[in-house]
């Protein structure tokens, strides 16, 4: 029995005992709200303060969530026992039903099951992936790494131009060989194809990994595992704009939604490789300024208020330069210096000089 399964069983047995003893069945759910989430200076990530709410069966304002949570827990246990996984959307569809003898639907909207899955993560202390419920799949990876996954031995260095397609759930991947000095993680698949074609991973002895925009949980876990289990530094390559900086921020410090999972998802010693305001000066990229919109400026101000950026000179300088420029600069603008400039000069130079932000 997996630990997640044992936790679910514990929850079920507790409720069953309360029923047998004629008590009001209940469960203890940690509260997630802006009031219970804070930045922990020592842990260097968002954390959830432990405040518990009791959810009762015999309570008209609790019963709906109570029953939904039990249904999600039962489905998760079934999945684990079957050795199957599922996705958020399918869990919702699986649980939509009218409760027999009533005209009440167990679930009306996916937000309800999503919320219950988060509650179950909190109550069991397990990731939803360990509960066999997966999020989005996205991204590619290559490098001198051999893994074992579902009985297959996969060599990340021998997958042609495509690379390995990163699954939504990487919990059961076994690393057989990791021969790389660090990981370059980027937000754009076209940049990844550039670096792969130029064999940057071979020349610099690193792993290159990309997603499409925001980092999926699968990628966050993969980066964290490479960092924690194999000591690889994670270097982040994103656009010089608030959205790129936000990708870095979430990867390193966590997000409000998933604050309860920071310990399992955050890559606490990730470094910001680029694009920085200094890169723009040094590599003469000002001619590729793209004017910021009002919502971009607003987003920069929000970032400036994040406790891990606020009062940190390095970050205030970057974000204030962005405001001063009133412009963003894309990674691909480096192509103006030559198509392989990023592979042959920008990255080797930055990495040799350890020219990253922390």
């Amino acid at each position: 029995m997996t630990k997640a399964e044992a936790e679910i069983e514990k929850l079920g047995k507790k409720i069953l005992n309360e029923i047998r003893e004629g008590k009001n069945p209940s469960m203890e759910v940690p509260i997630r709200s802006l009031g219970t989430i804070r930045y922990d200076e020592n842990k260097r990530c968002l954390v959830l303060e432990k405040k518990i709410a009791k959810r009762y069966f015999f309570n008209v304002s609790h019963i709906r969530k109570f029953v939904q949570t039990v249904a999600v827990a039962a489905l998760s246990k079934e999945l684990i026992e079957m050795g199957k996984t599922s996705h958020l959307r399918d869990v919702y569809y699986r649980l939509v039903r009218t409760i027999p003898g009533t005209n009440i639907d167990l679930v009306d909207d996916q937000s309800e099951t999503d919320r219950c899955i988060e509650d179950l993560e909190l109550m069991t202390g397990k990731l939803r992936e360990e509960l066999h419920i997966n999020a989005k799949k996205s991204g590619s990876v290559v490098g001198n790494v051999v893994i074992k996954d579902q009985g297959d031995v996969i060599d990340w260095s021998a997958l042609g131009s495509g690379g390995w397609s990163i699954p939504s759930n990487v919990e059961n991947i076994e690393f057989k060989k990791v021969d790389a000095d660090y990981v370059i993680y980027m937000e754009k698949e076209s940049v990844w194809e550039r670096l792969h074609e130029d064999r940057v991973w071979k020349k610099l002895n690193c792993i290159i990994m990309c997603s499409l925009g925001q980092t999926t949980r699968g990628i966050r876990r993969l980066l964290q595992r490479l960092n924690k289990e194999h000591g690889l530094p994670i270097l982040v390559l994103v656009d010089f704009d608030p959205w790129g900086y936000y990708i870095y921020s979430v990867l390193k410090y966590g997000s409000i939604n998933l604050a309860h999972l920071s310990e399992k998802l955050c890559v606490k010693n990730a470094k910001f490789l680029g694009i920085t305001a200094d890169d723009i000066e040094r590599y003469n990229l000002k001619k590729h300024f793209i004017r910021l919109k009002d919502r971009d400026i607003k987003r920069i101000d929000e970032l400036l208020n994040y406790p891990w950026f606020k009062g940190k000179k390095v970050w205030e300088r970057q974000l204030n330069m962005m405001k001063k420029f009133k412009a963003k600069v894309e990674i691909q603008s480096l192509s103006s210096r030559g198509l392989t400039f990023i592979s042959e000069r920008y990255l080797p130079e930055k990495i040799k000089n350890e020219d990253w932000l922390d």
Copy 2:
């Protein structure tokens, strides 16, 4: 020398000769406009009627495009010679520059270089991938197939839970072994993970492939090659909504933008596997109706006017049912019948009965 390179050289030599002979240098560019694009009943796809416009150097309204096209052609030739590829965005950045001795920028906006790349495709009769300029990368694939790509031999059946990450350019992939009866292509990566986990590709002896939303050119080419070179039927699995049906429509008949490439991109005998209005009745999915918005209804009416759907009873029936239901149904709603219902009943049943639309 590749054929694409030879075509570019031919274009260059023609212009050079005209310069030497003191003529006004020119190029012949096929015109793309709604007036030159039509549906060809025999070819069963959108085609571009050949109407040529001459673009001259000594013509104030032509010169900008003329010079841009020559610059794109030169870059493409350089890429081919270097054995490198590039992306649309990088091509734009590569060509942004102020023409020496003037205050004129060669390119102001990516739409200009994109347009020139399309012109070059038309003039050379080559795909932009053959011109070494790539589009988006997205999607995953597994199945009993072995390919060779960039010197690596890749077994699509031994890639763990992730599968092979499909590159943006599949022109140089060599198929070493294709042991499958057909391809199931779907628009959702979570459905793909469901089918992969259930080993549908093994049980039904097929290839499963997914993208995220609209099909990339890389995937369209990969599907076309599997269909043309290996005779595999392509079965399309999308939501019952106008956007899902549009994915099928583009895959099979082409799109206005890329009408000149229909022959190289369209999978002319693709079949529509689901979700159909009949599936909704048969598998009792009406309880999972999601109300259509006004723009969805508008989109259905546009689809009903496509020459390949208009007057075709099969398709008018589907699209009119969608309007009658005023609702869409997602693939994942099949999960309401059981998480593996799609793998164990829906797909085997549909495929055994050859229950698809054409």
